[in-house]
């Protein structure tokens, strides 16, 4: 038991000594959290628009006026030539073109439907969808006005009123959604890379042999090695949670105790994988590439950036063995929705099984004798 303490003491000393290590462990995660939280948003604040109004009538101006008044649109170009505005779009100076034909006012006056063209730069498909919806909404508003004015809204028209209410994130703040996930990402990466590189480093400098001739027990060695990283990652998690709560005002609806409890199991899992990787690799370079390979796959599939529900079945199936996916989902459910122990029991059981597996696998692979 005492030997474990000596190993822990030594690991901490080495971490503190390394001048590059401290910023990597403490400062960078914070920066990442601050930057990522702000950078990761799909929300579209405004659309750069170009308008072609060939009609210049009262009606067409009224439509243009509606776009001008909307905070979602910035009219950057006006022209009578579609070719010219197409060129502007080609060079990414505008994202959307509204084309009003010359008979616009005339058709409306004689109560006839009239077509306008709405051209969107769709290189970014997701953004294009949103921009298109914004514009359609404004045209819908315009139609309502016209109908009202023409007194054609039949009085006994049946109307279904929709009342949406947004639970768990009433302001539709993307940060609220991203931060629990980013927290998971950071502690996973820190834990995985520190533990993955650490033992390989002892292999490279040759101290591992010196340790292997000592009567030290395998599990003492592993516990002693992993404990410091467990504390560092745990510290990062606490710090991140505090930042989330006090800087970003993210509500933590569920129980903090539950988060900490499951996080401590999850970190054992992550450190176990790191240790396992370090038993596979001979050099730090290899260890890092192996770690990267899996981290990238796990992160992309975890639902951090794009929802898991939208993925094809095979991708969702891979997530059964994706520890990051479990923990991100767990964190979001507990932090945002206040899920209780029973609601996340599936996650907890999966993480625990995985933790036991990864630690046993690593212990089994770690050989004192070759």
């Amino acid at each position: 038991m005492k030997t474990i303490l000596y190993i822990i003491q030594k690991e901490f000393l080495q971490i503190i000594r390394d001048r590059m290590m401290l910023p990597i462990i403490f400062v960078i995660p914070i920066f990442q959290l601050l930057i990522l939280a702000h950078a990761a948003t799909y929300e579209i604040k405004y659309v750069d628009m170009g308008i072609i109004d060939l009609d210049q009538s009262v009606e067409s101006r009224a439509l243009v006026q509606k776009f001008e008044a909307s905070p979602f649109f910035r009219i950057n170009a006006r022209s009578f030539s579609l070719e010219k505005l197409s060129d502007e779009m080609q060079n990414s100076r505008i994202e959307q073109i509204l084309y009003i034909p010359s008979d616009f006012g005339y058709q409306i006056e004689k109560n006839a439907p009239v077509k306008v063209q709405l051209i969107t730069d769709a290189v970014d498909g997701a953004a294009a969808g949103v921009m298109n919806a914004y514009a359609l909404n404004i045209i819908k508003e315009f139609n309502k006005d016209v109908l009202k004015e023409a007194q054609l809204l039949s009085l006994n028209r049946k109307i279904i009123e929709t009342r949406p209410s947004y639970w768990y994130n009433p302001d539709l703040d993307y940060k609220t959604f991203m931060i629990p996930g980013i927290l998971v990402l950071l502690v996973s990466i820190i834990g995985l890379f520190l533990s993955g590189l650490n033992i390989v480093k002892e292999k490279e400098i040759g101290t591992i042999e010196q340790l292997n001739v000592t009567p030290i027990k395998k599990h003492h060695f592993i516990i002693g090695k992993l404990t410091p990283f467990w504390f560092i990652a745990m510290f990062d998690l606490f710090f991140g949670l505090a930042l989330a709560k006090f800087v970003f005002n993210i509500p933590i609806v569920g129980s903090v105790g539950l988060i900490i409890g499951v996080a401590s199991i999850y970190l054992v899992l992550v450190l176990g994988i790191g240790l396992f990787i370090s038993t596979l690799a001979d050099t730090q370079q290899q260890a890092m590439f192996i770690a990267w390979f899996f981290v990238i796959i796990f992160i992309l599939l975890s639902g951090l950036f794009t929802p898991v529900e939208n993925m094809p079945d095979w991708a969702q199936a891979i997530n059964i063995i994706n520890p990051i996916a479990y923990f991100i989902d767990f964190m979001r459910m507990v932090m945002l929705k206040g899920a209780r122990l029973v609601d996340v029991s599936y996650h907890i059981i999966s993480i625990s099984i995985y933790a036991i597996l990864s630690i046993s696998l690593a212990t089994w692979r770690y050989k004192k004798v070759v």
Binding site: M20, T41, A112, P113, V114, N156, P164, Q284, A315, M333
Partner: protein, 365 residues
């Protein structure tokens, strides 16, 4: 000189694990991005609480669940069950139809449908809301007699460059950029840091070979590797994902080469700063990879970020390269539209090479 290049190649190719990663990561990433990561929604699990169970409400429910967007996961009977259903995390939307739905529509011409959305992912929530609203509007039209002649603006939507709104168009340029960054900058910085650690760099430095030859010898294999990696991704994008190649292929390859040289210069610079492999790795990982994923506009549009981050993104070389790729591949633009971006990357290249040479010299003196 030739001997150096051959030595580097041998080292890279002997290290099978790294080689697998070198070509494995790009392929896996492209496949993941292309097939798995989608922002388009379909088959969203929802729940319904129908308090009326009458003609109109049944019609409406049928209409909703027969759409491709939604799957009925739970048919709730009482309001008490709502919270539980959400907390368990499965359903994303609950549609509540109020009491006496048909009667209210017939007599008062007005009835309420309440939507409760799980907005923990705000993006999905607003998409679900707009799809549901569209279905409700349709239903409204169906139950109302259509007036014969109305003044109405009918928008004709045209999605230019990407009519099917496929996300691959965004992801492929992004993945190419990340891979080039990873392979070029990260691999060189680590490989040089490794030689420093092992002391083999000193041996090279005292040999009669000129420093510039050492660097070229180190870097050339990586140029070729990165370049073949980029070509593989392009071929996959073109064949597996039907990504268009509107512009000039030669121009695209030339720009890729320029970007690779820039990334290598950056890698060399990092290795002159870092004192060990571990720091070189962590530096490249945190300082290069995450920002090049997030601040280049390939997942999240830069335009929507806070101003500070927009300025920071200007300092990210990958951002400019993503713009160049998109312009050439998707929009088919020539050099006249991207000369500015090209110059910026060229500027970065010169800057990093200059810094490294300066660092290198002071180390020798």
């Amino acid at each position: 000189m030739r001997i150096f290049i051959i030595k580097e190649f041998l080292q890279i190719f002997r290290d099978k694990r790294s080689l697998i990663i070198l070509f494995g990561i790009p392929i896996v990433q492209v496949l993941l991005f292309g097939f798995a990561l989608k922002n388009e929604i379909q088959d969203i699990p929802i729940a319904i609480l129908d308090k009326s169970k009458d003609v109109y409400s049944q019609q409406l429910i049928n209409k909703i669940i027969s759409s491709d967007y939604f799957v009925l996961e739970e048919d709730l009977q009482e309001e008490k069950a709502i919270e539980e259903a959400f907390r368990k995390g499965k359903i994303k939307q609950l549609i509540i139809i109020e009491n006496d739905f048909s009667e209210k529509l017939e007599k008062k011409n007005r009835a309420v449908v309440q939507l409760i959305l799980d907005a923990s992912n705000p993006n999905t929530a607003s998409m679900i809301n707009s799809y549901t609203s569209a279905i409700l509007r349709d239903f409204e039209h169906e139950i109302n007699p259509i007036p014969t002649r109305v003044p109405m603006v009918i928008p004709e939507t045209q999605m230019r460059y990407n009519p099917e709104l496929r996300s691959v168009f965004m992801f492929v340029p992004g993945v190419i950029t990340i891979i080039l960054m990873l392979v070029s900058a990260m691999m060189t910085s680590i490989s040089i840091a490794r030689e420093k650690e092992l002391g083999t760099m000193e041996v090279l430095l005292v040999s009669p070979v000129k420093p510039i030859q050492i660097i070229v010898g180190k870097v050339l294999p990586y140029v070729l590797l990165s370049f073949s990696s980029a070509v593989i991704i392009l071929i996959m994008a073109y064949t597996a994902f039907q990504m268009p190649m509107v512009g000039n292929l030669v121009l695209l390859l030339a720009e890729s080469l320029l970007f690779i040289v820039m990334a290598l210069a950056l890698g060399i610079f990092i290795s002159t700063v870092a004192n060990s492999q571990q720091t070189a790795m962590l530096l490249s990982m945190f300082a290069l990879l995450l920002p090049s994923i997030l601040l280049t506009g390939f997942i999240f549009p830069i335009k929507n970020m806070p101003e500070i981050l927009q300025y920071v993104s200007q300092l990210m070389p990958p951002k400019w390269f993503v713009i160049i790729i998109k312009n050439i591949m998707i929009k088919g633009n020539g050099i006249e539209s991207i000369w500015k971006e090209t110059l910026i990357i060229l500027g970065f290249t010169v800057f990093f090479i200059g810094l490294s040479v300066k660092k290198f010299k002071t180390r020798l003196e």
